[in-house]
Amino acid sequence: VDVAFLIEAAAKVAVVLGFVLISVVYVVWMERKVLGHMQDRIGPQRVGPFGLLQTIADGLKLFMKEDMIPSQVDKAVYFIAPAIPIVTALIAMSVIPFGNSLYLFGRTIPLHIADVNIAILFILGTTSMGVYGIVLGGWASNSKYPLLGGLRSAAQMISYELAQGIALVSVVMWSGTLSLNEMVKQQGHTWFVLNVPLFIAFWIYVICAIAETNRAPFDLPEAETELVAGFHTEYSSMKWAFYFLGEYANMMVVSGVAICVFLGGWHGPVLPSVLWFLVKLALFLFCFIWLRATFPRLRYDQLMAFGWKFLLPLSLLNLALTGVWLVLRGA
């Protein structure tokens, strides 16, 4: 066994894991700050400079809180469910290339944990498993509102996964590969999003990604006006925090995929590649927050109608357009 290779892999896993878990703290801070300013407030500012330590304080509070377990829950499932979204998100993170190769200690180190030649399918597969966390959490709580939240989430994710998958298929047709690395390499000159069919695919993907991560305006599984807090009503302390962590980690995964697939990955002038990736990631996360501050929540029937009657046909049409475009361009 190549020891150097093992050390390299372990170091990369540690860096990505640490980055995701720590940056979640600051994404939450950013969310509260941005939302605050968009709503003409100032957001957190008491703990640390600019309120930078607010989320850490909140995390400590959640650690210290009593872990309430309602009496009629399905214990095993109730315990496992909050871990599922964050675990699947971290697994999906392992195939996202976050920078150009690095030359260190006489070795060329590619900046992704695993180069999987079917990375797109790998990510779709792992993120599609993430829905279990929400569905099962809602069911195991043995309470009406969480169950409704879980059911909504199951229906919503299945509906939007379809259009999302088909949007990604047009990129696969365009690039002729399922590997994220290969796609990023092909975008050295022109980002994929600058081609007409892929531009449409990009918007379909982004809309579906917001629905997949249960973010506003698609946050029906936790609609507080109707369902108290939806699927996590019966969760408290760190179990609740894990759902939160999972949501933000999933936001990073879908943003990472969008960057690699449509927005040129780590390619960019002057700045080092890793920095470009991080800049794009931060912009994407900002847009997530921006959307939350801007749009009211959809009604459930609007959500379903939009997914099945608009996005899905549009993505299929776009798939056909991509095919025609590729044939004409090839001729």
């Binding site: 399905d74 079917i118 790998f122 279990y132 069911w139």
Partner: protein, 170 residues
């Protein structure tokens, strides 16, 4: 070496989860055990140099079909308190077919002269084996007709489901 250990792990997981699926009384837990079976199967597909099939297994079965199963189970809220073995024609047939399948498998492994059927050492794989491109090529050349017929069957099933569901509402 590593492959054998992983194979052992996936086998034990698959069998344990399969037993859980059959013997557990809470339907939602049974469905979750079935997800476990599908995940370990997908691991085996990877060990068999078929990463594409493995990914599709997770994406389609574990990620979509089982979620719909759960959806239905949760809606019905089936109580899992019923006794495990109630006599009935379907159970009887199930057990009968189970034993037939078991006998068949044992015959394959143990019968005299069975050495000829047992898989030998793995042959060298052709280049690109198990890759999406190779599978796509086979599906659209050698197996084109079965593939298209299956698609039509599935389409018929979908339309049939819609028709049946509509009739109830009217």
């Amino acid at each position: 070496m590593v492959a054998s250990i992983l194979f052992g792990l996936f086998t034990v997981m698959a069998v344990a989860c399969a037993l859980g699926t059959v013997f557990h009384r809470q339907p939602v837990h049974c469905a979750l055990f079935l997800v476990g079976v599908l995940l370990s199967m997908s691991g085996m597909f990877i060990l068999l140099n078929a990463p594409f099939i493995a990914a599709i297994q997770i994406l389609v079965y574990a990620g979509a079909i089982m979620v719909l199963f759960l959806f239905v189970l949760m809606m019905l809220n089936v109580q899992g308190e019923r006794p495990f073995l109630t006599p009935g024609p379907t159970k009887g047939f199930g057990i009968l077919f189970g034993f037939v399948a078991l006998a068949e498998l044992l015959w394959i492994v143990l019968a005299p002269g069975a050495e000829d059927w047992r898989p030998g050492p793995a042959p060298a794989l052709p280049a690109g084996f198990g890759s999406p491109a190779a599978i796509g090529r086979i599906l659209y050349t050698t197996w084109l007709y079965p593939f298209e017929i299956t698609s039509i069957l599935l389409l018929v099933a979908v339309i049939g489901a819609v028709v049946l569901a509509r009739r109830k509402f009217e």
